[in-house]
Each structure stands twice: as structure tokens, then as C-alpha cells.
Amino acid sequence: MKFTMKYSLVLVMMSFVVFSCDDYLDINENPNFPTDAPIEGLMTRTTLESARNTSRTAGTVSYFTQHFASPNEATSTDTHQPVSYGGTWASLYSVLSDLAEMDLKADDLDAPYYGGVAKILTAYNLGLLTSMFGDAPYSEALFAQTLNPPYDSSEDIYEVMLDMLDMGIQDLEQPSSAVVPAADDYIFNGDRASWIRTAYALKARYLNHYSKLGSYDPDAVLDAVDDAFENSNQDFQMNFFEGEGTGAENPWYRLAVNNAGLLLGGWLSEQFVDHLNGNIYGIVDPRIEFITEPVSIEADPRFGEYVGTPNGAGRGADPEQDVRAVLAVGSWYANEPTDPLQMATYAEMKFIEAEAALAAGQPGRAETAYEDGIRAHMEKLGVDPADIDDYWANPDVSTNIDLDKIMKEKYVAMFLIPEAWNDARRYDYAYEEFTIPANHNPDLGGQHIRLVRYPDSERQRNAAQIPDRGASDQLLGRIFWDAP
């Protein structure tokens, strides 16, 4: 009996000993994900996401610039409601984190060409972030230094952006790099000269933002422009990929296809359409047919006309299709899933040059740059040269070049580029016949939105750090260069 007893005790213990081998419990390494990523994979992801972040931000701010208008009445973004753009915020920080990882890895691998791209894209995404949200965490962010990262002023962030661009240029000018980007760089396929030109273009853009401030230095802007793109073939843009519905394709193309499938979106504002169709300026801009389509219902009295949708008012009694101007499938901006998505262009540089030259007291340079800007954008869209000449021949276009004219033309060239909102705010929305949307958020007291509010995620997780931007639920707060 005692023997059986002992035997069974041994059994119990054995089963314990056998199974308590540490090996048996060492299964907590997540088998579904790698613990590190190749630098090429980070390049791929960050170039793609930078382009997508461009469309994410433009998808919102194009309503504020009244390039877009909602097909439905009184929708939130269209009427400047305090919407939480948490997805955009998270996407921007996600790509900023990946860029920071890439930059670190580039240091480790002695691969300055990766480091240079990382820095330039960091500046670019920071620009998207701060111009939409204002102050934002950066100096103690991205590596979980603290769980409640403090907010840096937008002014400080601009310092960082400009430093990043300079350092990025330096990195890319290094004689060699242990690893060299190629096909993993979706934007420039590893071409360093393109990246350097892009860095100068962004520098010109950001320096030009200081236009309302005393510290504005138009000469510095012009210097940067000189080293930026020389023609439209060098534009900072990314070609997308086949793969319908997967997120691989051009987001504007997807928006247009969805709209055609009656998931409504991408409707053009009456402001933008009237800007182009002659209603405001009495000149039909030949670009209009490359951007949208006229009324195609023959029975409709407006057949053949371009009809936009007033912001905040919705489409009224009009149907979902064939009447109002929309971002049309087959138009220049939404032609193919693989179309490029523009982030900064030669045309933009020319308008920046025009503006800076004007400020620097060089009207001749301004005039030339202004004409080059118009022609560059029209040529890029494929406008017939004769039509371009006709347009330029109109004295309302080609004479008495002032800031209003420059901003008017730049407004068209910046369609779907989020920089358009920076222009609108610098210009205090002073475009011709530019009005407050219908059903406008009453808290804004008839003023245009200046920043979007901090997203709910940030209000929940980092509330104490959020700067106080007043009673309008932050919407009338301003980025530092947006002086009243």
C-alpha cells in the first residue's frame, strides 16, 4: 500500500516536473509579426503613406478651400463643425514614427541616402500635421519618451522642418551610402537629385508661409526656388498601383470611382467651378474640362454647363449624377488607378516665386514666374497649346499682375494639394466671391475655419497637454504664421 502511495506521488511530481520545463512555456514570442523591419520596407511604407497622407489631409481641407463641397446639406466638414480627424492625426504620427525608425536605422547602417529621404519626408509630414492641427507634439514624441508628450509650438515645428530639409540635403550629398534606395522608393526610385530638388521646393514653400510676418524673407524663398524643380517632370509626386479597392490605387481615382458608384464624394464646390467657368471672372479656364464634366442630361436646361455645388447647401433637388460637377473618372486627376498623386509641383514653385519676387520688389521676375506657373500647370494637364495662348492672351489674365492674380491662378493649380489651405489662410480667404458656407457652424460667428480641432483620441489620452485655443472649440485658433 505504501508502495502504491509513493508511486503515485512520484507520478504527480513527474507530471509537474516534465511539464514545467521552461521550454514548454516559452511560446510568447508573437509568431505573427517580425521584431524588426528592413530599411527598404520602411522606405516603401513611408513613401506610400506620405502620398496617402497628402490625400487624407487634402480630402478634408479641400472643403475649407471650397474646391470640394458636400453633395448633402449641412454636413460637418463642409460647414466647419468641430470634427475629430483622428484617423488623419494617427496616420501622420504613424508615418512620422516609421520615418524616425528609418532615420535611426540609416545611422546604424551608415546609409545617409535613406537618412536624407527620411528627413525630407519628416519635414513634409510635419508640415501636413502642423498646418492642419497647429501646435503638436514632436520634440518628446515618436519614441515613447513620455506617455503624455508636450506640444511644441507650430513655430518651433517650422524650425525643425527647415532644419530637417537642410540636413536631408546634406545626407543626400554624401559621397556614398552603404545601402542605396531604389525600387523601394515609390516616389523617386532612389534618385537623389530629385529628392534634393524636393527638399528645396519644400523649403521654398515653408519659408513663403511667413508672408504675413515681419520675419518674412522673400530672398531666401527665391534662393530655395532656384534649387527646386526646373520643370513639371521633376514634380514631387507618386505613381500609384493597380489593385482596385485595396488601397494601393490612387485615392482620388478611388474617390471618383466610388462617386460614380454612388458612394458620393469628390463633388466640386460652386466656388471652384465658377472660378473656372467664367461666372466669376468672365473667362472660361480651359483646364475645366480636364478637371470635371458638364451637365449631361439633355432635358436639363443647364445641359452642357458646369454646375458646382454651394458649400453647406447640398445638391438640393438635383440627382446624384450627371448634373453637378464632380471629380470625374477619366479626368486628369482621376484617370487611372496608377495615376500620380501630386504633393509639390513646378507650377507651385513658379507661383511661390511670383509672390516672393513681388514682395522682394522684382515685378519683372514675378510676371515671368506667374506666366510660367500658369503654362506649366496647363501643359501638365494636357491643355492644347493654342488654348493656353488664348488664355494668356486675355489681358485680364496677363496684365497688371498683383498678389490677387497670383493667388487666383495658384488656387487652380493647387487643386487637391493640401497646401491650398495654407494659401487660403495666408490670403485670408480673399478670393473673389468667396463666402461662408450655408448652414455654417454658428460658433464661428461667420468667420472661416483657421485650424481643425485636436482629435478625440488626443483629448482622451493626452488632454492635459492640449493647448487651449478658445471658445470656438479650437477652430479659430491660428498657426503662428497666420497672423490676423
Binding site: F19, L96, E244, G261, A299
Partner: protein, 1044 residues
């Protein structure tokens, strides 16, 4: 290591007890006088001495007596104690008579251990299999509703196969993703009760305990307090539901056949308004986006449209699409079981089939179950095995989208006219070619079928080593494959076709495998005449593997040919999760004269989910039970009195892979031959330790008037500390979530079960059982790093109600925007986080309430108290039952109400042409007197009211749609008649029972729409946020049971 030593020392002590051999040996066997089954563990005492013994697994005993000894005393739980004179015999076989009315005093606790109720120092409640079957529900959880105090069970809605959720003694975890539901154990083997929600749109997938056929269940014990669950370890930290399935009994083969049919109809459908038609701002527009803010139907009997230059007139009428789009549900259940056996071997087999149809079109769920249980014994060895094969599944409808699309649907269009003759989708405009996805088309064409094949089996053996010591081993497996196929057929490729998707096929393969091994040494021995000693030591291993593979093929080249080979784009994902646990435990019970019981348990677990340094954790429990009515003389009417006290700790580990910081490749890659990677959002924690829950409990049992009235009360308090929380962190940190040990959550409550038999005559018996529960939950602390742990939120158009854990508030707190309240100067809210509902409104200069965008607690989704009252009446061959459920003081956010405010469907929005003065104060303290119009556009007073009160104000404040979801339900009412053998002489039938049950026949609730119980996903902790839920139902069930 200490545990091992302890085990050894205790065992040695046991060995040291030498058998005192002398004089005459008496042997014999003890059996049940009714069934003839042998009885294990019967205590035998030599009268007037401290000498004695117990029977072994086969009911045999051996005892030594002296010449002067006169008699033996046989005593056994639930049986009459018997005194047998020795009369110089050496073999004394005894059969003990069950003590009627006390037999239910045996209860199944952990590991299938049957223990006397009186010996328990903690609370435990059981439900008999008959009560489960009598509920008429074909799902175990639904059958348990209201039957156990301290337990909250919610039904998702009326969907066929839709999951239910169960919470015991509130919520104990701060982790938004933690499973707060108890462990399910069938015949000693834990099984999975997971709910794996559909990818994409929610469809109310089944909780896996639904696979168990209620007809197979002999009894269910609910272990709700920590000492009871300590033996199951970390996985039972939220309690355990112990299911014992039916087994055969020695004797003739018995055959039972049962059949039921049921019909289900939607309950509590709101009153929809048929006054205003489609359009916005009182403009009638049957072709627009807005379903019911337009002109009146009576003013618009027809609508004129120009088609191809021709003016055409269309008649207009109101359609109640909410009613018309849904149908009656039904269920048909059949099952047969055959059981029997001999003294040494018994068996039970069953086959059952359940077919169900939901109230939303194309929603089905079926279950087929086959079970075999067998037990055999020979000599010292007993072997049992059981095997249950289940096939279940059906077609699941995306009910959230269904209800949402109904909200968008024009009331002038008939939603049931869902396609053209050529199969094209029909929209809600006059021509039917426009946008607006038809929900009926969607439900009928977008299919999502799950097909679960599951095997639950166990082998259990026990070997008697001595007459007081046995070795038990049990190995169990629960494995299933869940094969899911979603097909969105896409367009037909015809002209004028509304296209929302180019079609896709998605295949999901879920393979789950749980293995459990449990070995233990069980002893049962009286130390002296007065002191009993029993218990067990053991080792427990759990090993789980969950594998998923998901493939999706997008865009069909050939229309409507759903196949990967026809897809332009194929995406594949996979996942593997493994978790392992090892435990050693000891459970020791000491009693004094069957009156005072002391129970000690200790368990050490080692988990795979924590670092090597933190993976081992020990937790003890102690409980005491005193049957004081046996110690003190009580008046005659006081039959029984017991007090129990317990203290317990339970540890809990982390979910797998919370320690890893990883990179991932987003789904769109590879692209252009490149694969992109991004840093994962989870930040690796520095030091993660197990969670710990400390519980104290005191309980009282009283029985009066020979058990005619009994009362069982528990008071408990449990504090869960060092909670493992996924703390969402600012995106700016570069991460989104961090796991940390932080925070404490407290649950305290009262549970009360009162049973009574007010009437008991020869022909008539009336029993009442009532369960009362009151649980208070408070988040004591969370990590300092964040102000709140966000459980989650719900996108609801313009707003986003949220559940978050904030110290001082309840787990169930619902946070949201509100109408601001007016505070006179010098006064302020007592808690700035909580909305003071009874304060007057602050009215703005424009005459409307001011919306306060700061999130405050606007409601609490944990009920103040719940009560269930069950009545059963037996009169001769008739039986009647009525069961009432009270759930009181519970708030939930009703998204459908907000949706109605946005779209104007219900009669609530009929005030759209009214003027109103909002009661409240302006900021300067003067009462508001300004009259405002509630409609859209320019009002009769010439003022432009924009989108109107309902859209601009009402729906913006989350407070307004946070409704009181309290309810009183007549959960079930039933009647049955049993024909007994005497009536059917000559027929080979023992009995036939026919019965009718109605569930949810009556419902009283302030909740405005459908079922206040409903939710979207059974696996979610967001109990306070009700998305557009599957409408609940009332059902009528006819059932027939035949025993041969």
C-alpha cells in the same frame, strides 16, 4: 518548489496513519436502496467509539471490530443514517435510503467533485437540467437567464444563432479587450465559449457554448466566488459555469424523445410616423437622400417627374418598411436520447437537431449534436469517457447595416420590392435605379455562412490505491474548425445597375484546439470520530492553439461567379495564438462532526504569457462553514442555519503576446514587388505581472418549516489589483497602446436567493424561487499615465459615445456630450465628470439648449439591481410556470434613437411643426421665455432654423439618446400536461408531456425601441453602447416529450 515539498509532507502525514488491526474484520458493500448503485465515501463508525472507515470507489469497506462492539453507524451525505447491529457477522451489506428533499444538498463543485451544500464555505448555485429544458431555449445561456443570482446574462437579440453574454459578479478587468466572461467546464473539462465576431460588418456570431445541446445537460453549477474557482486557476478568474451532462443509470434502457416548434416575432417595435414623407425641410422628394423629413403624404398623393422629356405622375404612399422587411422567425428542435447500463457499466447517447430562422430575411442557424457518454468500473479502476460531436452554423445577416439602411430608406418606397425582374438591385427612388442600398437585397444576396465542426471529448479514470486514497486522471479536448464563407456577389453587369461593390469572396478558417490534462490524488478519511479529512492534490495543464487563415478575393471578372480564380485581387492573412498554463493545487477539507467545515486551497500557476521572472504566481483561499443549527437548540420552525465566511485570492495572467513589440506589413503589400513594413502600435511593457483579485465573502443559509422556506444570502467584496491594462496612448508617442499593471477595480454586492413552497398538498404544489442581485462596481484607480482607460466608443454619425474607466466611476459609465445645465452663481457640480440630470437646462441666446461638448458621465450601463421570480405550480398531471425578470436602473446609449432624430422616422419627431419654449435658464439666470420652432428651414416666424431641432440639437447631445434600459419581462410562461403510464396501459410508453411556453410575452420598459437587452457582439465589453441591434423577439414554443 515549496508546493512540492508541502505536497510531500502532507502525504507523509497521511501515510503515518497506521491501520489498527485487531480482532474481527468485517467487510461489506454499501449501495443505494433505490438504484442499487454502490456508494463511495460512506462513513462507517463503530458505535460509541472513534473507530471507523469509509467505503471505496466500489462501495466496499473493511473495518475491524471488537467483540464488545454492538453496531455500526453508516452515514452518507443525502442519505438516511443507518444503525446496523453487528450480530457476529463478518459480512454486512447495507443499502442506504436517499433522504428525500435533501438529495439536492449535494452539489457539483470544481473537477466534478460532489460536495455537501452544508460543507461549502462559499456561495454556489446550481440549476437542474429540467429547469434548463423547461425554459424552452435552445441555447444554454438563454436557458440560464434569471436562474442564478449574481449572474447577468444578456441576449444579443432575436437573431438565429446569435450569441449571448454572461457576466458573474460584475466586471473584474480593466483591459478593454479582456474576457470578463466565466470559464465553461463540461464534465470536468474546460471548453471554449469564445465569440469570434465576423470580419467586416457585425453579424452577431454565436458564443461557442451555444454548441452544447441543453437537452444533454443534467445540471449546471455556477461558481461565482473566488474560493470555488481557485481550483481552476487563472481561467476561472471571472467565475465558472460547471456543466454536468446526463449519464446512464443502471437498469432498463430508457429512451427519451423530445420535439419542439417555436415561432418568434419582433417585440417593442416603435411607433413609426406615416405623416411626413421623404425629402428635407418639408419639401417632398422621393428621389433624394432624406427618407422622412419631407412634405406630408396627404399633401403629396402623387409625384411628377420628367422622364425622357415626358411628364409622368407616380402615386405616393407610406410604407412601414421596418415592419414589412422583417418576418416571423421559427425554430424546430428534435432530440432523442437512449441511456441505461448495468451495475458496472452505464451509457448515455443522444442525437439532436435544431433548425432556426431569424426575423431578418435569410438569417438561419442549425445545430446537430451527437453525444456518447459511458462509464465502467472493474475492481479498483473506474473509466469514463464522453464524446460530443457538434455541427453548427447558418447564414448570418449584417443586421447593423440592415437597420442602418432601413434608416436611410425612403418611406415612399417599398423595401420588400428589392429587385427588378432581371435580378438588378432596386433602390429607393421612383425608378429604382438610384443609390441607397436596399437592406433586403443586401440580406438576401450578401451571404455569410459559418460551418462549425466541433469535437469535445474526455477520458477520465480513477484508481483506488487504498480504501481512502484514489488517483484520478482526466484528459480532455475541445477542438473545432469554423469555416466561414462570405460572398458579396457584386453587379450583374447590366445597364442602369446600382453598384456598391465589385464583388468578393472571403474564406475564413478558424481552427481551435484546447487540451486539458488533470491528475490528482484524492483522499477521504476520518481522523477521529469527530474530525473528517478529505481533499486532493493535483496538477493541471492547459494548452491552447488557435489558428486562423483568411483569404479574400476581390473583383469578379465574370459577374456573379464567386471563386478565387475569378478574382482580380487576392489577399491572404493568417494568425496563430498559443497559450499554455501549468498549475499545481491542493484542496483540503476538515470538518468537525459534519457541523463545522474548514476548506483550504492553494494553487500555483505558471503561464506562458508572462516573462520568465513573473510567470509563476501562488494564490490561496480559506473558507469556513458553520451549521450552527446543529450546535444550538433552535425552535421547531427553524430547520437549518448556516453561516459561511471566506477569503480568497485569484491570479490572472496576460493575454498572449502582450510583451512583444513588433513590425507588421500592412495588407496592401506586396505592391510593385516591394513589401512595406511599419512599426506596430503596441509598446512593449517593461515589467508585467499577473493580476490579483482578493475577495471576501460572508453568507447565510436559513431554512424554515421543514425546508418549506429557505433563504440564501451572500455579501461579497472583491478587489482586483495590478490589473493588466492596454492603455491607449497618444499617437504622438509613436505608439497606440501600452500594457501596464495598473489600477484597481472593486465589486461589492448582495446576492439573495429565496425559495418557498407556499402550497403543498397531495395534488397541488406551488414553488417560488427568487434571485436578487445587487452589484456595485467602482474603478478605484488606473495608471497615472492616463486620465482614462478607454474601453471603446461607437461612431454614431455626428457624435461618439464612449465607455471609459475613470477612478471613482463605475465600469458601466457612459460618457458623452449633453445639454449644458444651469448653475446659479456660486454653485457648481459636485463632480464635474458627472452630469446632474435634474439640474435645469442652460438655454442659449437663440432659445435652444446649449450643447456641452465636454464628455461627462451621462448614464451607467450596470444595473442597480436585478430580480428574477420563478413560479412553478404542479396540479395533478398539470404543470405551470411563470418567470419574471426585473432589471432595474440600467442606462444604455440607443443609437437607433439618435438615428431617428437624424432621419425623422418615429412619432417622436412629429413635433417638427411645433413651437416650444425650452424650460431652463439663460446664462444670466433669467428663465427662458423665447419661443422657438422645431422644424427645418424658415419657420412661420420668419427665422431660419436650418436643419431643425432634432438634427441640430437633440442628436448632438449623447445624453438625449442615453436611455433608461430597465425592464420587467415576463421571461417565460408555460403550461404542460403529463400523461403517465397508468393512463396509457398497454402502450410501451412511460410518460408523455406536452407543453406550451411563451417567452418575452410581456415587456415593460422605458427603452424606446426593440429589446432593451440587445447588443451587437457577445464578445464585447462595451455593454453600454447599443449599436443598431438585432431586434429582440417574443417566442411561442410547443414541446412534446416522450419517455419510453
Amino acid at each position: 518548489m515549496k508546493i512540492k515539498q508541502l505536497l510531500f509532507v502532507v502525504s507523509l502525514l497521511l501515510c503515518a496513519q497506521q491501520v489498527y488491526a485487531q480482532d474481527i474484520a468485517v467487510t461489506g458493500q454499501v449501495t443505494d436502496s433505490e438504484t442499487g448503485e454502490t456508494l463511495f465515501g460512506v462513513s462507517i463508525l463503530v458505535e460509541g467509539t472513534t473507530r471507523g472507515g469509509v467505503t471505496d470507489m466500489d462501495g466496499n469497506y473493511e473495518i475491524t471490530v471488537r467483540e464488545e462492539d454492538e453496531a455500526l453507524i453508516f452515514s452518507y451525505v443525502g442519505y438516511r443514517t443507518l444503525r446496523v447491529p453487528i450480530d457476529d457477522r463478518t459480512t454486512i451489506n447495507v443499502s442506504l435510503e436517499p433522504e428525500i428533499g435533501l438529495l439536492d444538498d449535494v452539489i457539483v463543485t470544481a473537477f466534478g467533485i460532489e460536495r455537501e451544500r452544508r460543507a461549502l464555505g462559499y456561495s454556489l448555485q446550481d440549476v437542474d437540467g429540467q429547469e434548463i429544458v423547461a425554459s424552452g431555449a435552445n441555447s444554454l445561456l438563454n436557458a440560464l437567464q434569471g436562474q442564478v443570482s449574481g449572474v447577468q446574462i444578456n441576449r444579443g437579440g432575436g437573431g438565429a444563432g446569435q450569441g449571448s453574454q454572461i457576466f458573474i459578479r460584475g466586471f473584474t478587468s480593466l483591459d478593454p479587450n479582456a474576457d470578463n466572461q466565466p470559464l465553461f467546464v463540461v464534465d470536468g473539462v474546460p471548453i471554449s465559449n469564445e465569440t469570434i465576431e465576423s470580419t467586416g460588418r457585425p453579424r452577431g456570431m454565436s458564443n461557442r457554448a451555444m454548441d452544447i445541446d441543453p437537452q444533454d445537460i443534467a445540471s449546471v453549477s455556477v461558481l461565482r466566488s473566488a474560493p470555488a474557482t481557485a481550483l481552476y486557476g487563472v481561467r476561472a478568474a471571472n467565475g465558472a459555469v460547471i456543466i454536468t451532462t446526463k449519464s446512464g443509470r443502471p437498469g432498463e434502457v430508457r429512451v427519451n424523445f423530445s420535439h419542439s416548434v417555436s415561432r418568434e416575432d419582433v417585440i417593442n417595435r416603435p411607433d413609426y410616423q406615416d405623416v411626413y414623407g421623404p425629402g428635407f425641410g418639408f419639401n417632398f422628394d422621393p428621389n433624394g437622400f432624406w427618407p422622412s423629413w419631407g412634405g406630408k403624404f396627404e399633401d403629396n398623393p402623387t409625384y411628377t417627374m420628367t422622364i425622357d422629356g415626358q411628364e409622368q405622375e407616380f402615386p405616393m404612399q407610406y410604407y412601414n418598411n421596418w415592419k414589412n422587411s422583417m418576418q416571423a422567425g421559427y425554430g424546430v428542435d428534435n432530440s432523442v436520447n437512449v441511456s441505461g447500463g448495468t451495475q458496472n457499466a452505464t451509457f448515455y447517447t443522444s442525437v439532436s437537431d435544431s433548425r432556426n430562422r431569424g426575423v431578418i430575411p435569410n438569417n438561419t442557424w442549425n445545430r446537430t449534436s451527437i453525444r456518447v457518454n459511458g462509464n465502467a468500473r472493474t475492481g479498483a479502476l473506474r473509466v469514463g469517457a464522453s464524446l460530443n460531436y457538434i455541427n453548427s452554423g447558418g447564414n448570418r445577416v449584417p443586421f447593423v447595416a440592415f437597420m442602418e439602411r432601413l434608416s436611410y430608406w425612403n418611406t415612399s418606397a417599398d423595401v420588400t420590392d428589392w429587385r427588378f425582374d432581371d435580378g438588378r438591385h432596386k433602390g429607393n427612388d421612383i425608378l429604382g435605379t438610384g443609390s441607397g442600398r436596399n437592406p433586403v437585397f443586401d440580406a438576401n444576396t450578401n451571404t455569410y455562412e459559418d460551418d462549425v465542426n466541433r469535437l469535445i471529448g474526455n477520458i477520465n479514470t480513477s484508481l483506488d490505491l487504498t480504501d481512502w486514497l484514489a488517483l484520478e486522471y482526466r484528459i480532455g479536448i475541445d477542438t473545432y474548425s469554423d469555416q466561414r464563407t462570405e460572398i458579396e456577389p457584386g453587379p450583374l453587369g447590366l445597364e442602369n445597375e446600382f453598384v456598391w461593390s465589385d464583388g468578393f469572396i472571403e474564406e475564413n478558417r478558424i481552427n481551435s484546439r484546447d487540451l486539458t490534462s488533470n491528475i490528482s490524488l484524492r483522499f477521504h478519511r476520518n481522523i477521529t470520530e469527530d474530525i473528517g479529512f478529505e481533499g486532493r492534490f493535483g496538477n493541471d495543464i492547459f494548452d491552447r492553439e488557435l489558428q486562423t487563415v483568411r483569404a479574400r478575393g476581390n473583383i469578379f471578372e465574370i459577374p456573379r461567379f464567386a471563386h478565387f480564380s475569378n478574382s482580380q485581387d487576392i489577399l491572404i492573412g493568417q494568425g496563430l495564438t498559443e497559450r499554455r498554463l501549468i498549475g499545481v493545487f491542493a484542496d483540503v477539507n476538515i470538518d468537525w462532526r459534519n457541523t463545522i467545515y474548514l476548506n483550504l486551497t492553494g494553487r500555483n500557476d505558471w503561464t506562458s504569457t508572462l516573462d520568465e521572472d513573473n510567470r509563476s504566481f501562488f494564490y490561496p483561499s480559506v473558507s469556513l462553514s458553520v451549521v450552527y443549527s446543529d450546535l444550538i437548540d433552535m425552535p421547531d420552525w427553524f430547520t437549518y442555519g448556516k453561516i459561511r465566511l471566506s477569503y480568497a485570492e485569484v491570479g490572472k495572467d496576460a493575454r498572449p503576446y502582450m510583451l512583444s513589440q513588433v513590425f507588421f506589413s500592412p495588407t496592401e503589400f506586396p505592391l510593385n514587388g516591394q513589401r512595406g513594413f511599419s512599426r506596430g502600435g503596441r509598446l512593449a511593457p517593461l515589467d508585467l505581472n499577473p493580476e490579483r483579485t482578493l475577495s471576501n465573502e460572508i453568507g447565510f443559509d436559513f431554512r424554515f418549516f421543514e425546508n418549506r422556506l429557505s433563504l440564501d444570502m451572500s455579501l461579497y467584496k472583491s478587489n482586483s489589483e495590478d490589473m493588466i491594462i492596454d492603455v491607449p496612448v497618444s499617437n504622438a508617442t509613436g505608439f497606440t497602446v501600452l500594457s501596464a499593471n495598473a489600477g484597481e477595480i472593486e465589486n461589492r454586492g448582495i446576492e439573495l436567493t429565496v425559495r418557498g413552497t407556499p402550497v403543498q398538498t397531495r395534488d397541488l404544489r406551488w414553488d417560488i424561487t427568487s434571485n436578487f442581485t445587487r452589484n456595485r462596481n467602482e474603478v478605484i484607480s488606473i495608471t497615472d499615465a492616463v486620465d482614462a482607460v478607454v474601453l471603446g466608443d461607437m461612431a454614431a454619425y455626428i457624435n461618439r459615445p464612449r465607455m471609459q474607466l475613470v477612478p471613482g466611476q463605475s465600469y458601466g459609465a457612459i460618457w458623452g456630450t449633453s445639454f449644458a445645465r444651469y448653475y446659479p452663481e456660486g454653485e457648481e457640480p459636485s463632480d464635474p465628470d458627472v452630469l446632474e440630470h435634474d439640474r435645469p437646462l442652460l438655454i442659449g441666446e437663440n432659445g435652444f439648449p446649449v450643447v456641452d461638448n465636454e464628455y461627462k458621465v451621462v448614464g451607467d450601463a450596470l444595473p442597480d439591481w436585478t430580480l428574477n421570480i420563478g413560479n412553478t405550480v404542479n396540479y395533478r398531471n398539470w404543470d405551470f410556470s411563470a418567470n419574471f425578470d426585473f432589471v432595474m436602473g440600467v442606462d444604455k446609449y440607443n443609437k437607433l434613437d439618435q438615428w431617428d432624430a437624424a432621419f425623422g422616422h418615429t412619432e417622436k419627431t412629429l413635433d417638427r411643426e411645433d413651437f416650444k419654449v425650452f424650460e431652463g435658464f439663460l446664462a444670466d439666470g433669467t428663465p427662458n421665455t423665447q419661443e422657438v420652432w422645431l422644424g427645418q428651414g424658415v419657420g412661420p416666424d420668419g427665422r431660419d432654423y436650418g436643419a431643425g431641432y432634432h438634427r441640430t440639437y437633440y442628436r448632438v447631445a449623447i445624453e438625449n439618446s442615453t436611455e433608461d434600459a430597465s425592464y420587467i419581462k415576463l421571461r417565460s410562461i408555460g403550461a404542460g400536461y403529463t400523461l403517465t403510464q397508468s393512463v396509457m396501459s398497454g402502450l410501451p410508453v412511460q410518460s408523455i408531456r406536452a407543453g406550451v411556453t411563451a417567452n418575452n410575452l410581456m415587456l415593460w420598459t422605458p427603452w424606446s425601441q426593440y429589446d432593451p437587452e440587445a447588443f451587437v457582439s457577445a464578445g464585447s465589453n462595451l455593454i453600454g453602447l447599443v449599436d443598431l441591434a438585432y431586434p429582440g423577439t417574443r417566442s411561442f414554443v410547443f414541446s412534446l416529450n416522450i419517455s419510453l
